[in-house]
Each structure stands twice: as structure tokens, then as C-alpha cells.
Amino acid sequence: MTDLLPMLRRLFPALVLLLLVAAGLTAASTPVRAHASLTGAVPADGSMVPSPPTAFALTFSEPTSPLLLRLITPDGKSLPLDRFTLRDRTLDIVAPDALGSGTYVLSWRVVSEDGHPVGGSVVFSIGAASGAAPLVADAAEPGLQAAIWTNRLLLYGGLFVGIGGAFFLAWLGAPTRDGATVISVALAIGTGAALLSIGLQGLDALGAPLGALGQPIVWQTGFATSLGKSVLASLLAIALAGASLALPALPARVLTVLALIGLGSALAASGHAGTAPPQWLTRPSVFLHAVGIALWGGALAPLGLQIARRSPNAAATLRRFSRFIPFAVLPLVASGLLLAMIQLENLRALWSSAYGQVLSAKLVLVALLFALAAYNRLRLTEPARQGEARATRRLLGSIRLEIVLVLVIFGLAALWRFTPPPRALALAAAQPAPIHIHALKAMADITVTPGRVGAVNVDMMLMTGEFGPLDAKEVTLVLANPARGIEPIRRKAERRDGLWRIDGLVMPAPGEWTVRLDILITDFEMTRLEGALPIRP
């Protein structure tokens, strides 16, 4: 005990020294605030080089040592860059051999002398910016797809057989009423299918399962699409056709013509074909196509019934029908060909795209239908009209077959709901990726067009948190993809037409990107918005 004090006294300076060094280390390690910033890169950020570089160089504002250097290749692979040399503030990196063309990300993470790690990315393209893989249409759940298809088939059947049938009864079949029951049933089916189609459309639009059909939002969403107008027009046309069945000849004829116009307008108002450019051409074409189908397809059932029931009027009806039908078929064929040409864009798509394959199958069936119709017209109609029993039987059989073919064709056409035409696919590829970020101080609508890998443009609209105008001094977009090991890519935006824009940004990889917007509001005030941006492959 007595020795302790002198010993402590002897050790005192050493203890002080230790304490001071410890304090010094703490002081040195706490305010680690200075970071290096990238002042130059070879290849430059956002640049295009004609041939694969043999070396990369990163120059920083102060000497650094690299922690992690990676090259993300166009196919999404991450190559470690471990051959580098430090030359003052510049980091010379040996490039991997045999780099192909496309967009690369040189992702760097370095530590400067203060000990604070910083990261960033340099995006460059060799030869050309990475394009994108072929696009597949969004697939709905199978049960919903089946429901949508069945609904479409019933809708087509109901509308064409019902409205076309009513027209036939009023104009060609009168005064015989054979087929009125079938037509009423078809109109009823059409009504149900038209109403249900709103809900199914809503489910598809929201990506909701079949079970959600009871929710009002689903129906509101469905009705808000272009289908809403179509359904209204269809229901009006069905009502007109239904009323015509109960009315005398003259008003019935007027109503059925109006019903046909309603049907044509209904189909022209929505769907891939009616909404394809140029609309001044496609809309009338869809209209004529629909009217033609109704006139032909709708006539088959009442005509067949008249013949089958040996109506005394059947011969006269058959003659009127054969005289009239070319006027329906010619516009039908012409408009069909025109629409196919617009939608396909090239002949190869006839077998290479799903849309084209459905069209090919439909064309085969249509050719068969025409062969039957021609056989009826040239070989059976005249003898049947004369009352020849065998010809009448054959004609009936042929009409039955025609009805089946027409229904199969409707079924095929209903498949188009799931096979966007090449034109629409190209359009879907160009769809922008929009995001909305809302924070207390500011909010932003950011649109990346197209929202997929490759060269994109970014438009940003800024507002204050209370939806007022936000007058920013400077806007910087910072994109990173931590899942792929891509450090932040920074781009200053330019102000143009009230929007903040970034041109010529290349999105190097698909997936979920984190987005940060640094908005300089005044010289001394900056606000940050953070969000996520999904980029399609």
C-alpha cells in the first residue's frame, strides 16, 4: 500500500500521455466529415465511346484509396475491377478484356484521407446504348383471362346475332317472324355480357383477382376506361334492336338501322383496332367491319330457321338475302384487310407475333366460311329456292356449319384481347415510368421516358408540399441501384418550359432504382425527395 503512491507518481506522465493520445484519436475520428468528390472520369460520365477502352481513370478532389470498384456489364453481370494504380488524385484502372457494345456502369466506392467512404457511378456506352429485350404483354391471372375471353365471346355473339338478326327480321325476313326467340335470347346474353365486361375490365386494369369483382372501385375503374363508352353504345343498340322486335315493319326498320350504327360505334370506340392511328381511317374501318359481321352473322340463324321450318316465305327471303349480302361482305373484307395491315406493321408478324398467329387462324376460318358461302350461293341457293329437297337439306347443313364457324371466329377474335398487336407492343415499350414523391416541403412528378433500360429522358415537375409552384434554383437527380451494386449516378437537370429535364440519361439495368432529388430552393436551403423507380427490362 505504501509503495503504490510513489509508483503512481512515477507513472503519471505516461498516464497523461496515454489519455492525450486517446483523446487525440477520438478527436481525429469523430469529425470525419470531409469527402472526396469525383472531378473527372475517362470515359466521361454519360459518354459514348466508339471502341472498348483499355483503361478507365477516375480523378478525385483529393487523394483517395479505392474500397470497391465494379463494372456492371450490359447483361447485368458485375465484374470486380482489381487491377488499378493510384497516381496522386487519379485512379487508373485496367479495363477487362473483350468488352462488347452496350451500356456499362463503372461503380466506385473510395475512402478519402479523412476516412469517410463515398460512392458514385460513371455510366458510359461502347458503340451504342443498350437496347432492350423483347417485351411481353402483362399476363392477367388465368381464371380472369378465361372469364374475360368467355365474356368477350358472349358479347360478340349476343351483339352480332341479336342486332344483326333484328335487322334481318325487319328488312329481309319480314313478314315471317322465325328467329325472333333466338334474337331475343342473343340480345339478353349481349346485355349481360356488356354489363359484366365493365367489371372484368376493371379487374384487369387494376390487376385485381376475380374475387374482387364485388368492389365498387373495380366497376368505376372499368367504366372509366374507353370500354365505358363502348358498353353504353352497345346497351343502347341492344335496346333499339329489342324494341324493333315488338314494332311494326317501318319503325322496326328504322330502329334496326340505328341499332347497327350503335353497334358499329360501340366497337369503334374501344379496343386495339379502333384506337390505332390514324383514327380517321381505323374507326370507320372498325365500324364497317362490325356492321358487316352483324349483317352476315346475324342473318344466318333466322334464315336457317325459316328454311328449316319450311316457311312459305323462305324462297323470297333467300333471294333477298343473296342479293343483299355482297353489300355487307365487301366492306367487311376491305375493312378487315386494312385493319390487319395497320396492326401488323409487317408481313412477318403474321406468324412471328401472337397477334398475327390469331389473325392467321382467323383468316383460314374466314376463307372456309367464304368457300361455304360461295358453294351455297352458286350451287344450293337456286335449287333450294325451287324447292329441291336435297339442296335445301344441304343448304341447312351448310348454314349450321357457317354458324359454328362464325362462333369460332368470334372466339378467336376474343383472343385478341390478350395479344396486343405489334403496333401496340411497340407503344407499350415506349410507356414512361412515372413516379410521384410527396414530402412535407416539396413534391415531384418524375417521368422517365421510356421507362425501360436504354436511353431515356427525364421530366420533373416540382411543387411545394401544398401543391403551390416551387421555384427551385437547381435540381439534381441521383439514381442508385443497391441491389445491383450500382453506386449513385448524378445528373443535373435543366429548366425548360417550366419543367426540369434531363436528356440523354442511359438507364443501364432494369429493376427497382432508388431515386433522390436534391432541390436547391434558395442558396442556403436544400430539400431532398426520395422514392423508388421501377425500370422495365
Partner: protein
């Protein structure tokens, strides 16, 4: 163990933390209320360019601001109204210098300099918090480094790329 080694150790302990690239304060802790001498240290320019202007925003609660004259630099004092009235040794003070601008000089990227002001930290400032002095460093061709980021609650200056120089406030003994 001699006195000189002790001195060297002390110098080592206190001397660290000078070589910062950020604009930082030399003394990072001060009691309230008190008169504080703020020394802003500029370690480098904007991405290689020389600094030609330094702007310091004076936070609320900091009054009676007087910049120290600096050869080669013109000083501008931007005055304005404070958000509230502060007590300066019995004198109610509701307006004063809100920004100090040093301009007309030229500080190359590879040289170091300090910008000094003296101010009074009023008793309205809360001990235990950090007071931030946003600084903008301007360089030719519109380049600028803005040390203006104020850490959100639960974050520290280390979480930011451009943190504003901070002053830790402590109670007066």
C-alpha cells in the same frame, strides 16, 4: 518521460482535425449565452476551381455579428429582421446581420484559408443542440459548393455529402 514529449503528445491530441476538405468551424463547441469567435476553414475549392466568394448564413438566435476584415476580400453584411427579438445584455434586438459575404478574393483549390466572424450566442439557443451555419463557397463559371445540409432528426452530419458547419451548444458553467 520529459516535458517536451508531453507537449508533443498534447499537440498531437489537439492538432488533429485541421486537414478537412469541408468547410468546418475551428471551434465546434460553445456555451450559451456567450460571445463566440467563428473560424470557418475552407480546405478546397469547387472541384478544382478557386474559391472567389464565401457566403455564411447567420442562424436565428445569433446576433451582434461582426466579421473580421480580410486583406484581399470585400465584406458585405446583409442585414434583415430576425424572426423574434433577442436580448443583448438588456437591449432588445430584433434586426441585424443575417448573412456575411466575403468576395473579390481568390483562394486556389490547393491553398487553405480561414474566414472569421465574432457573434453573440443568445440565451434563446438551446444547450444540447447543434447550431448550423450554412456556407456557400462560390467559384468561377457558376460552380459552387454548398455546405448547407442540416441533419434531420436522428441523423448526423456524417450522413450527408454537404453538411453545414455545426456548433455544439453547451450550458454555461
Amino acid at each position: 518521460m520529459t516535458r517536451s514529449t508531453l507537449l508533443a503528445a498534447a499537440l498531437l491530441a489537439l492538432g488533429t482535425g485541421t486537414a478537412f476538405a469541408h468547410v468546418t468551424l475551428e471551434v465546434q463547441q460553445a456555451p450559451v449565452p456567450s460571445t463566440y469567435k467563428a473560424v470557418f476553414r475552407a480546405g478546397h475549392g469547387c472541384e478544382g476551381k478557386p474559391t472567389i466568394k464565401v457566403r455564411v448564413q447567420i442562424p436565428e438566435g445569433v446576433i451582434s455579428v461582426k466579421p473580421q476584415p480580410k486583406p484581399g476580400w470585400t465584406i458585405e453584411k446583409v442585414r434583415g429582421k430576425y424572426a423574434s427579438t433577442y436580448d443583448y445584455y438588456g437591449t432588445p434586438t430584433s434586426e441585424g446581420v443575417k448573412e456575411i459575404i466575403w468576395s473579390g478574393g481568390n483562394l486556389p483549390d490547393d491553398e487553405y484559408d480561414e474566414f472569421v466572424l465574432r457573434a453573440y450566442l443568445t440565451k434563446d439557443l438551446k444547450p444540447g443542440t447543434t447550431l448550423y451555419f450554412p456556407v456557400v463557397q462560390e467559384c468561377p463559371d457558376g460552380a459552387a459548393e454548398r455546405w448547407i445540409e442540416i441533419p434531420a432528426e436522428g441523423k448526423s452530419a456524417d450522413d450527408y455529402e454537404y453538411p453545414a458547419p455545426g456548433l455544439k451548444l453547451v450550458p454555461k458553467n
